[in-house]
């Protein structure tokens, strides 16, 4: 356990944090804008992974290209889910909505199991297992790609939220849905769009997961919990905060893994947020809604 291994761990972790950011972004958006704890988010990621896997194979195209198709599909799915499943339940409070998402999660997992069995899958391309040696540290190419994509995505969403009319309306609806309604913003439609966008981003997240790791029908829970850790660390609903939280988690896992060994890897993040939540129930960076 030398300084070198720790640095390697930290750097790898930082880049991996980019991947984490992409997977958590959708979850963070939905929670930030609508206050909905979308516990079916893990399954959206996994769905994205499966669809990418099959579509890229069937059409013989690169997974990233396939992601465009998958994103469109998930966008539609998300829009419908929010409009018809969540919207009527959300008026009754947060718990019914949470349990509904729970129910969806169960349905999704069992459908995945049925159609696609328990076989472990991963999306392989020529370049996905490759690594680069930079300054003597081995960095997987997928980590680098994910990191780059994360930056682009976060910048993109940020621009959307600050420069477009719909984006501003979304922020307004986040801060005060009743007043926004009074100003003529159709808040229901804003929510549906937000969910759809989050689902589309999850498509990309799924692709990255599939290419960097492997997945099975039940993989969703692990990624959901990571998403939750990141949202708590980075502040609910803050786009930039989500990126920060993800990078932080990545670094902590990387360093912790270098010190303690990989078994307790996933545990570290969970323990940390529990500690954070105890100290500051509203998260590290975010504002309480």
């Amino acid at each position: 356990m030398s300084f070198f291994t720790i640095t390697a761990g930290a750097l790898n972790g930082l880049l991996l944090g980019g991947l984490y950011a992409v997977t958590a972004l959708g979850f963070s958006m939905i929670f930030g804008v609508m206050g909905l704890m979308n516990v079916v988010h893990g399954e959206l990621l996994v769905l994205g992974a499966y669809l990418c896997f099959f579509i890229s194979r069937a059409l013989g195209i690169d997974p990233f290209v396939a992601t465009l198709i998958v994103a469109a599909i998930l966008f539609a799915v998300g829009y419908l889910l929010q409009s018809f499943v969540f919207s009527p339940v959300m008026e009754r409070g947060v718990e019914p909505a949470l349990l509904t998402a729970f129910g969806l999660s169960i349905i999704a997992q069992s459908l995945f199991l049925f159609y696609w069995t328990t076989n472990t899958r991963s999306i392989n391309t020529g370049y996905s297992p490759v690594g680069l040696k930079i300054l003597g540290i081995y960095l997987p190419v997928m980590y680098l790609i994910s990191f780059g994509l994360a930056l682009v995505l976060v910048a993109g969403v940020h621009l959307f939220m600050t420069k477009t009319y719909l984006g501003k309306a979304t922020r307004a609806a986040t801060q005060d849905p009743d007043t926004a309604q009074v100003m003529g913003v159709n808040v229901r439609r804003v929510y549906a769009f937000t969910y759809a966008l989050a689902a589309a981003i999850a498509a990309l997240g799924g692709t990255l997961i599939g290419m960097t790791f492997s997945f099975v029908p039940s993989s969703g829970l692990t990624w959901l919990l990571k998403g939750f850790v990141i949202v708590v660390l980075g502040g609910m609903g803050s786009i930039v905060g989500t990126l920060a939280g993800a990078l932080l988690l990545g670094v902590v896992e990387g360093v912790g893994g270098a010190i303690m060994g990989t078994g307790y890897h996933d545990l570290i993040g969970l323990v940390i947020i529990l500690l954070v939540l105890v100290a500051r129930p509203t998260g590290l960076l975010g504002s309480a809604k």
């Binding site: 949470l98 069992s110 078994g263 529990l274 939540l277």
Partner: protein, 317 residues
């Protein structure tokens, strides 16, 4: 339950008790096993319902308490030679201790954050147990099969626990603790204005629920003969418990019982279609939340009470 109907209820209960005591001697092993599972579910459901149904605190950490009970029982049976009942009791106690420790931090969270915090705790514990060498990490434990401990034993023990849990709920609701619990579930701030120490009230109920859950886990560990963290700490325990209560009727005494019966029967009907079983359960959960949030028993309660002259409902049993 109105006083006038009490004799009828008592008669029914006595008959049911007699039937349940006699039944395992005439039915086949598989059905007895199903009934064992039924009682297991009822016990878990009743304890979950105490917090969720009356205080409005939805815990997604049933698996954690269940697993702790299972492992505590397992470890003491294997390493200290405890009798399986003693081991199970110890499991319940350890689960309650765990609950006491985490109560202070997690009760700070309101509503949804509480639910997620319990889920996180549960998952963290599972990952930890997979890695902990002391308890056998991923391979888990093998418990010695005790001679003389037959399926019948487990059946009767679990029946006792399920009946006990149900009775406990009924009794609590008729005491000061029950009043305080319902008050804080209705309106926490208002309850504080009336002198209810809401933290302490939640704590007591949480400890009781944890004990029962741990006890059930401990018994089940012996029944299974071997335990490992993936299945014992699996979120499925949490899921099925929540399902059972919501479908049956959250916040009622008989709801969990009905829900358990329903879930077991559904499981049997769909035994050949394992994956659809899960999907249908999920769909059912969504539909019930959307259209019959009071659950089956709760809805029946609303319909029959509505026909009485004064109408309306309370959350009293």
């Amino acid at each position: 339950m109105k006083v006038g109907k009490a004799p009828l209820w008592w008669g029914f209960i006595v008959l049911l008790a007699l039937a349940l005591i006699a039944v395992p001697h005439v039915l086949d092993r598989y059905t007895v096993f199903l009934l064992y599972l039924l009682f297991l579910n009822i016990a878990l459901a009743q304890s979950w319902n105490l917090l969720a149904g009356y205080a409005g605190l939805i815990s997604l950490g049933v698996a954690a308490l269940f697993g702790i009970g299972a492992y505590a029982a397992g470890m003491t049976i294997v390493h200290l030679g405890f009798h399986f009942l003693l081991g199970a009791l110890f499991g319940g106690v350890l689960a309650a201790v765990f609950a006491a420790i985490v109560a202070l931090p997690i009760f700070r969270f309101r509503g949804i954050y509480f639910a997620i915090a319990t889920l996180v705790l549960s998952e963290a514990l599972r990952i930890f147990m997979v890695n902990w060498k002391f308890t056998g990490s991923a391979e888990g434990l093998n418990l010695p099969l005790e001679s003389g401990t037959t399926l019948m034993w487990y059946y009767y023990v679990m029946l006792l626990v399920a009946a006990g849990a149900t009775l406990l709920v009924v009794v609590i609701l008729r005491t000061k603790l029950g009043m305080g619990l319902r008050a804080l579930g209705n309106n926490e701030a208002s309850a504080q204005n009336m002198g209810v120490n809401t933290f302490r009230t939640k704590l007591y109920v949480f400890l009781l629920a944890a004990f029962i859950t741990g006890l059930v886990g401990g018994i089940h560990a012996s029944k299974m003969g071997s335990i490992e963290p993936y299945s014992i700490f699996s979120a499925m325990w949490t899921l099925s418990t929540a399902n059972t209560v919501i479908i049956g009727g959250i916040g009622t005494v008989l709801g969990p019982v009905l829900g358990a019966v329903f879930v077991i029967i559904l499981g049997e009907l769909l035994a050949d279609y394992q994956t659809f079983h899960l999907a249908i359960t999920g769909a059912l959960l969504i539909l019930i939340i959307r259209f019959i949030p009071a659950g089956i028993w709760g809805q029946i309660g609303k319909l029959t009470l509505a026909r009485r002259p004064e109408g309306g409902g309370t959350d009293a049993p």
